[in-house]
């Protein structure tokens, strides 16, 4: 039975690991739905869950590459804090919100500074040989201190009106029509690339999936996309019948996932990250510039942390110097729950997003149940251990 099922998955071309995670997520959702008397899977809560997931989700895509390359980044929460404070300060006090382009400039500067902060850490790891654990632990302190220094700890507010949309507040979604257009375009793109890839493989004479398997997978993905759009459109703005649609931060997450997936699958850089994590010596002997790749992943992580900072400040409509505190743990947990192996060489972007959704679902569900924040921390801590233990067991069984 189990064997037949895994053969079936193989025909479909989906990894058993991903399927088991999806099943785990489904179980978690159903249990929480039941415990919260039907609140958890309401359109309203799923909308909030989607928005909450975007911050951790975006950073977890970068953490995948970091961990795949056998490093770790403990500084991402603080990095979010300092870039967020910088963006908020520039926007509110330097450019001021009367300036219509100030928010754009503040974003641009924030992204660059995030990249430079990442480069700084990558430099110490790659060129000076200090373990990433120490460099980024120092970064955790250093960037948190810097976040305070930006305004001496004062909260800065408000943000520009247009900028606030990026946080997914009341108007921060694209409405029903655009959401449907988005969904249909997504389905069209999916069909196009699936068929194109199939066509090219056939041209080379490589084996391809059976046609029914290909169509079944297309149908499942299309259905999930449509379902997602439908749920986002079922949540209305307060006291109206106007659908909200897909929140902008979720669009940013989707964009990030697409870009990061392309980087891991279709670029030399991505391939080299996996080679390095798999066997650093082999990567070096193959002529790969390990130092440059290492700096590259940290720069990427810095930029992703500032994207997360943009969403956070836009959502809060303020810069608060404690933003992002302890987020590094959620981000690492998301990557690891999503199947990224701490031994290096293994990890996927979609897995990490699924991991982020699982983490956020647990947190969101416990809030709905009125669980205290201290108890939530305890639960998340235990989940993290279980996830890594599962990874260890899974890898043992595979050998």
């Amino acid at each position: 039975m189990a064997k037949q099922f895994s053969q079936f998955l193989n025909t479909l071309g989906v990894s058993p690991r991903l399927v088991s995670m999806m099943i785990a997520l489904l179980v978690i959702w159903l249990v929480l739905h039941f415990l919260t008397d039907g609140t958890f899977l309401s359109a309203r809560n799923l909308y909030n869950l989607a928005v909450q997931t975007s911050v951790v989700g975006i950073m977890s895509t970068g953490m995948v590459l970091i961990i795949v390359a056998r490093h770790i980044d403990l500084s991402v929460g603080s990095l979010l804090g300092v870039t967020g404070m910088l963006i908020a300060y520039l926007q509110a006090e330097v450019f001021t919100i009367d300036n219509n382009w100030g928010w754009v400039a503040s974003i641009a500067i924030g992204l660059v500074v995030g990249g430079i902060a990442g480069w700084w850490q990558g430099y110490w790891v790659a060129h000076r040989g200090v373990p990433a654990f120490i460099v980024t632990l120092a970064g955790l302190l250093l960037f948190r201190g810097a976040a305070f220094e930006v305004t001496d700890g004062k909260t800065v507010a408000p943000m520009h009106e247009t900028y606030q949309l990026l946080g997914g507040g009341i108007d921060g979604a694209i409405g029903a029509t655009w959401s449907w257009i988005f969904g249909l375009v997504a389905v069209a793109i999916l069909v196009f690339f699936t068929l194109k890839s199939r066509f090219r493989k056939t041209k080379y004479g490589f084996p391809v999936k059976q046609m029914w398997a290909e169509l079944l997978m297309l149908a499942i993905w299309s259905l999930l996309i449509i379902l997602f759009v439908n749920v986002m459109n079922s949540y209305y703005k307060p006291r109206t019948e106007v659908a909200r649609g897909i929140p902008i931060p979720v669009l940013i997450l989707i964009g990030t996932v697409i870009v990061m997936t392309c980087i891991t699958k279709f670029t030399k850089f991505g391939r080299h990250v996996f080679a390095m994590g798999s066997n650093p010596e082999a990567a070096e002997l193959a002529g790969i510039n390990i130092k440059r790749v290492t700096v590259g992943i940290f720069v990427l992580m810095g930029v992703l942390a500032s994207i997360a900072a943009i969403i956070t400040t836009a959502r809060l409509n303020a810069g608060v110097n404690s933003m992002g505190t302890l987020q590094e743990l959620n981000v690492i947990a998301a990557a690891v729950i999503g199947g990224t192996s701490l031994a290096g060489g293994i990890g996927t972007i979609p897995g990490a997003i699924l991991g982020a959704v699982i983490m956020q679902s647990l947190d969101n569900g416990m809030v709905l149940l009125g669980v205290s924040s201290s108890m939530r921390q305890i639960v998340i801590g235990i989940v993290l251990i279980l996830a890594v233990w599962f990874d260890v067991m899974y890898n043992k069984k595979r050998r």
Binding site: Y204, F206, R271, F274, G277, S278, N279, A282, E284
Partner: protein
Amino acid sequence: MNQTPLVEMKDIVKTFGGVHAVDHASVDLYPGEVVGVLGHNGAGKSTLMKMLSGAYVKDSGQILINGEEVTIESPRDAQDLGIETIYQTLALADHLDATANLFLGREKTTAWGALDDNLMEAETRKVLHRLNPRFKNIKTEVGALSGGQRQSVAIGRAIYFDAKILIMDEPTAALGMQETAAVADLIQQLKKDNLGIFLISHDIHDIFDLCDRICVMKAGKVIGTRKISEVTKDDVLSMIIMA
């Protein structure tokens, strides 16, 4: 032979801490020739070859390719000079498949700059088929392959890129009889294509079947170079043992 040697390594020294891994060693190699590098474990064979393949940088000495002095400071430098290496450890990335390993560091890209996995896979299938017609698991991560198949991937990587100089560090160590024979055939073929090959091996039969000359090392020094036609197996064994 009056032609210029393909490779001349002169007076090469490499120390690790206080250990003289290679101690004023000199070897040369002509086109179409197989030179066997022999010696006990720890004699310095791998280290000497790694300075040619760019894995280590020599402390002193000269390396000449086609009569011209070259600087080899990285594997990339060596690759650019047409030097390819099959390492004793194979140097494969276990979580990647055969295609990714074969093209590692030298990936083919499309006009858009994206990895051209289809093209690379097609080439990989060709090369591996030539080495081992029964090789099927082209999509499997190489960590899950048998020793022989892993070796095929490592050898495939070395011959795909039109090497002029090939270094084979115990290439048949993990192979069965049939696969060893296939490697021997391959070496004969590459010789005809005028490649120069350094072959490190412990198998005295392999050495006698394949090599034109041998070079025996002990404690980092080259203690003798002989034409294979001028020695017997016993001569060679006693050179290695007595030294």
